[in-house]
Every structure is written in structure tokens, then in C-alpha cells.
């Protein structure tokens, strides 16, 4: 029953979908839609893991996929939504670059990744393809962190990077030892929570509703 997966290149489609959702961020204007995009991204990720699990039967991969779905697909988005809903004022993402320009740049980044990782013939077939995608997703996540102003977008960018890393992990090696996965996910949750705490503090101290972090320039030199 595995072969239909390879037949229909489903996994490729899924991973491309992940990349596309990541890229789509560049053109989205409202934080809610960002969170949606992230949710979809996470669902696709868990789906991919699920297929990997189907393809070569490792039970802990099912676990991993459900775990991913639960944490990244459900828990985090709702947590973020709750934080966002506390922001009374605008939910528009303020950016330094225009949509088109940021799209172009992310395209360039993807190109660079494909070129540079194309050199080594060390990762083969499907894995190499997904590796490139995941590195691309990570860099795009970083890129949107760079270009967006509010703290929330930074958290989201970080989460996209994490997704990219997970993608790489599962595509390359059919998963880590379970404890590692658990640990990483736990770390992720902790990060997000602590960041939420600091975000609230930023909002208080800098008295900016959207927690714009381009005000955080007292420390320089």
C-alpha cells in the first residue's frame, strides 16, 4: 500500500505545499491570516510525517505526526490567537519592504539554497529535494523575521523556521529518537511561552499595542 505514495509523488506535493505556505506569508497583511498560514503549514508538516510513517512503518513516526499536529497545528496557533486577540489596536503587519520586493528576495534566497546545496551529491533523491525545501523554508522564516516589525511576526517567523527544521529532520532520517523529538517540541513550547511573556512586557514598557520591536534601539554601540 506504500507505492501509491511514490506513484502520485504525494510527498513532493506536500513538501512543495509547505514551501508555498511559507512563501505566501510574504503577501499576507494581517496577523490572523499569518497564524492561519502557519496552521496550514504545520498540518502539512504533520501530514508529511504521517506519509513518511506509512511509507516505512515506524510507530514512533505516527506518534510524532500526531504530536506535531497537536502542538503546532492546534495548541500554538490558539495560544497565538489568544495573544493577538488581546491586542486591541491594529492587527496589520507593518513591514519594511513592499510585498513584491520581499517576494522577489525570498525567491532569490530559494535560488541560492538550490544552487549551493545542489553542489554536494551527498544527500540523495527525495531527501535532497526535501532538504533544499526545508532549508529554504528556514531561511524564509528568518527573512520574514528580518522584514516585519511586530514581535508577534517574529515569533511566527521563528515557528516557521522550526517547521523547516522538522521537515528536514523527518525527510532526511525518518525521524529522530522519540525522546529527542519530545525534547525539541517541549523546548519550542517553552520558547513561545517565554517570548509571549516578554512580548507582554514590551507592550507595557514601550506602550505600543502592536509591540513594535523597531523601538527596541536603546542599546547600541
Amino acid at each position: 500500500m506504500k507505492d501509491w505514495i511514490d506513484l502520485l509523488y504525494i510527498m513532493d506535493f506536500v513538501s512543495i505545499g509547505i514551501l508555498l505556505t511559507a512563501i505566501s506569508i510574504n503577501s499576507l497583511g494581517r496577523i490572523e491570516s499569518w497564524i492561519k498560514a502557519y496552521m496550514i503549514n504545520s498540518w502539512l508538516l504533520s501530514l508529511l510525517i504521517f506519509f513518511v510513517a506509512v511509507k516505512n512503518p515506524e510507530h514512533h513516526l505516527y506518534l510524532a505526526s500526531t504530536l506535531t499536529f497537536a502542538s503546532k497545528g492546534i495548541l500554538l496557533p490558539f495560544f497565538l490567537k489568544s495573544i493577538v486577540s488581546q491586542m486591541k489596536k491594529t492587527h496589520v503587519v507593518e513591514t519594511y519592504l513592499s510585498t513584491s520586493l520581499s517576494l522577489i528576495i525570498s525567491g532569490i534566497i530559494i535560488a541560492i539554497v538550490y544552487v549551493s546545496l545542489g553542489k554536494g551529491i551527498f544527500v540523495t533523491g527525495f531527501s535532497s529535494f526535501v532538504l533544499k525545501i526545508s532549508v529554504a523554508v528556514i531561511l524564509i522564516g528568518l527573512f520574514i523575521m528580518i522584514t516585519r516589525k511586530s514581535a508577534m511576526t517574529q515569533i511566527l517567523g521563528l515557528l516557521f523556521m522550526e517547521n523547516g527544521v522538522f521537515l528536514a529532520g523527518f525527510s532526511l532520517t525518518f525521524g529522530m529518537p522519540t525522546i529527542v523529538e519530545l525534547g525539541v517540541v517541549f523546548d519550542l513550547l517553552m520558547i513561545v511561552i517565554i517570548m509571549g511573556v516578554f512580548m507582554i512586557q514590551i507592550k507595557q514598557k514601550f506602550s505600543s499595542e502592536a509591540a513594535d520591536i523597531d523601538q527596541l534601539t536603546n542599546l547600541k554601540g
Binding site: 526545508s134 523547516g164 527544521v165 529527542v180
Partner: protein, 497 residues
Amino acid sequence: MIGLLIFIPLITAALCYLVKNRRGIEYINLFGAAALAIAAIFPITASHSETIYFFREMFFMDAFSSYFMMVLVFIAFVAAMYSIDYMGHEFKEGVIGISELRQYYAFLHLFIFSMVFATVSNNIAFFWMAIESTTLVTSLLVGFYRSKESVEAAWKYIILCTVSITFGLLGVFLIYYASTSVYEDTYQVSRLGIIGTLKWTELREIAHEMNPETLKLAFIFILVGYGAKAGLAPIHNWLPDAHSQAPTPISALLSGVLIKCAFLGIVRIVILGNMSLDTSYYNHLLLIFGLVSMGIASAFILTQNNFKRLLAYSSIEHIGIMAIGIGIGSFWGIYGALLHLLNHAIVKTLLFLSTGRVRLKYNTTMIDKVRGSIVVLPVSGTVMLLGVLAIAGCPPFNVFLSEFTILKAAIDKGNWVTFALFILFATVVFGGIFYHFGNMAFGKPGTDIEKGEKKKEYKMSLMAIIVLAVLMLVLGLYIPGFLDGMLNSSVKIITGN
């Protein structure tokens, strides 16, 4: 034995959080740190000859990590000792309440715990987690004062470190993948399909069979990932902010141990690299990062107006020096780098602690607001000046010794560019750091500051400072046999023969 090391800080942290009165917390803190230091002695001595394991090889200690452990527990103890006076002062001033005090000590020991965990964890993924958790804990400590600046610093710290460390995780995955490919070749296929390993000791065994290309890619990600944490320029930017905002003992720990802890992660991958085909690749990268760090740091030191930030930049410079030492790759280069790790830990801690006394006295961290500290604080001021001389690499202090060793190694390799740039940057740094601290030490103190240090109140911190000062001088003129032995065996581990 290793188990003790892991659990003592945890327990201490828990107790510190539970106990309610100030004295109690302080004693627990002190005893916890002391216990950790004492408990560390046995595994260190044991692991000197052969690697020791704990809990299904999940944790291990070889000569290298025991050497690092020694530095860690020592600095941790000194910092804990110093915290009593520092935080006590803040407490008396009413800057913080009892609950903050409890949090502080709890986080302090959690911080120590995570570093110990990182040091002894055999699994590179656990190592990654430990480093990540240090970020989490310390970010809370950096934001401890809840002022505008400290929140900002904490935010930058957590964002930058987390982002970069994400790449580190990718690197870890890549290494894991490389190891699976090895097992693929050797047909070790289990029921669950292909399995790799994350155990560093095993990885070291099979490193020579790994695919060098994969390792290279992994190394790039690891270098960026842990490099940011270690404060290698140009991805060092969190460091000055966090150091300048954290409470002084924490700054000391950050600068003295944490950044080196991240550096440890890089070195471990370099070891794998040394096992595989070409070492020059790794060495060049390290050399470049090291020199860039030195250069950038020297520039910032020259034009600095806040002494805690200045010390932070000097840490960047010295991480750069260690990177250069490792990057030179010869025996003496690595020897020097490791010796420098210890020396820098001692001297930088000393500087943070003594300037901490200055900060409490003048309560500012601005250089041009501090004058005549050597008159106001005879002991701390003098020691501070000596420490500055030491950090700037003057004999007869210890830092000179390691820097000289590294320079000699560079010459042995015929690496003239490194040699020349090293000397140039070191001289510039001397000028900058010495100018600023000279201004702080001499001149006329403001009239509102009362002279003299009340010995009985600050005996703890003074003791800590003096101990460090003595070490600084002694290690400049003499290297004890056991230290030399540890260094030698650690270098052997790194060079892989």
C-alpha cells in the same frame, strides 16, 4: 558520579525557590555551589585517564569535558559566592523583593544546571537542548530588572540565540543523517529500518567513515548556530546587550562560562571534522571567524562608553582568540586555546566582579561617570586595574601565557597573516581597554561618594575577587602539573590521536 553533578544544582534551585527567608536562600546557594564543586572533583579525577559514562552512556565525561567542567564549577562557585553580597546589597537598597531574590537564585542554579547538563551530555541533541535551555533561563535573568533596557536586551537575546540555534538543530539532524549513511554502508539495518546515532562518543568512532560533504554542511549550520551563542562576530550582537543588562554575577557567568559552553559544541564538531578527511576546511573557517571577531571587538572597545559593554566586547575578542587557537590546529595552538579558555574565564570573571563593586558604589555603568575608583575602593579598584592589564595580555599575568602560546603556534605553522593581525588587534585592544579603565581608576572621585570599602559587609565578594586575582597571577608564572596533564590529554582528544 556524574548524576550528582546533574542533580545537585537542580535540588539547590528547587530549595532556593522554596525557602522564604534571605539568609536561608543565601546559605543554600553557597552550599549548593560548594557541593557541586566538591562533587565535581571525583569525576574529574576519574575521567582523567579514561572516559566515564553514566545512565546508558547518555552522559559521559572525558578529559576535555572534565577540564571544562572544572572551569565551570569553579566560576559557578565564585559567582554564587559573589551573588550573596551583590544581591544582598540590591535587596537592602530595596531594588528587589524577597520573591525576586528567590527567583534569582533559582534561575542561577537552573542556569548552572543546564550548563553542567550540556557539558556532560553525550547526545548532541541533548547538548543542543541544554544550550537552548540556557538561553531560556538566562533570558529571564537578563530581563531580571524589568527595566526598559533589560527587557529589550532579553528580547534581542532570546530571539537572536533561538534563531541561530535553530540552525544548530538542523546541523544536528544533518550529523545524524551522516551517521545513518555510515550504518547504511555497514548494513546495520534493524527492525525499525535504518538507525543512526546521536551519541557523540560513537560519532567520534565512526566519524572517519561519514560523508565529509554532509559533515561540512552540518558544520556550517553548527558554526552559525552555536557561534552566535559563543559570540563570534559578526553574529555576536546579543552579547553586549545581555551582558550589560544582566546582574553582575550573571554577566560573569555568561562571559566566563556560557559562551565557552557554546564554543565547546563547535569544538566537538571540529573534532568529528578532524577525524574526517580535510581539517583545513574547519580550521580556515575558525581562523576567519576568530580574526573577524578580534577586529570588530577591538573597534568597539576603542569607542565604548559603558564598561560592562566594554567587557562584553572583550569577551568577543577572546572567544575570537580561542577560535584562532583551535583554528591553527597544531598541538600548541589547541593547547593555548584551551589554556586561554581557563585564563579568560578567571580574568573576565574577576573583572566583572570588581566592576560590579564599582557599579554598586557609583551606581552607574557609564565610564565617564566613574572617576578615582582606585581611591574609593582600594582593593577592588587595584584588582580591577590589574585585571585590565591581564585581559589586555600583559605578562606576568596568565592571559599573556596562553596568547603567547597561540602566537607561537601560529608562527610554527608559518601563518604570518594571523600572527600580524593578532598582534595588531591585541595592541589596539590594549590601548582602548586600558584608556577607559585608566580613566575609571584615577582622577578625582565625585564628592557624594564615600571612600573606603566596608570590609565586613563585603567580605564574601572581596574574598572572591582576591582569590581570582591570586589565581590570575599564579597561573601567569606557573602551570601546575595536573592542569598541564589535563590540557595535554584534552588536546589529544581534540586532535584525535
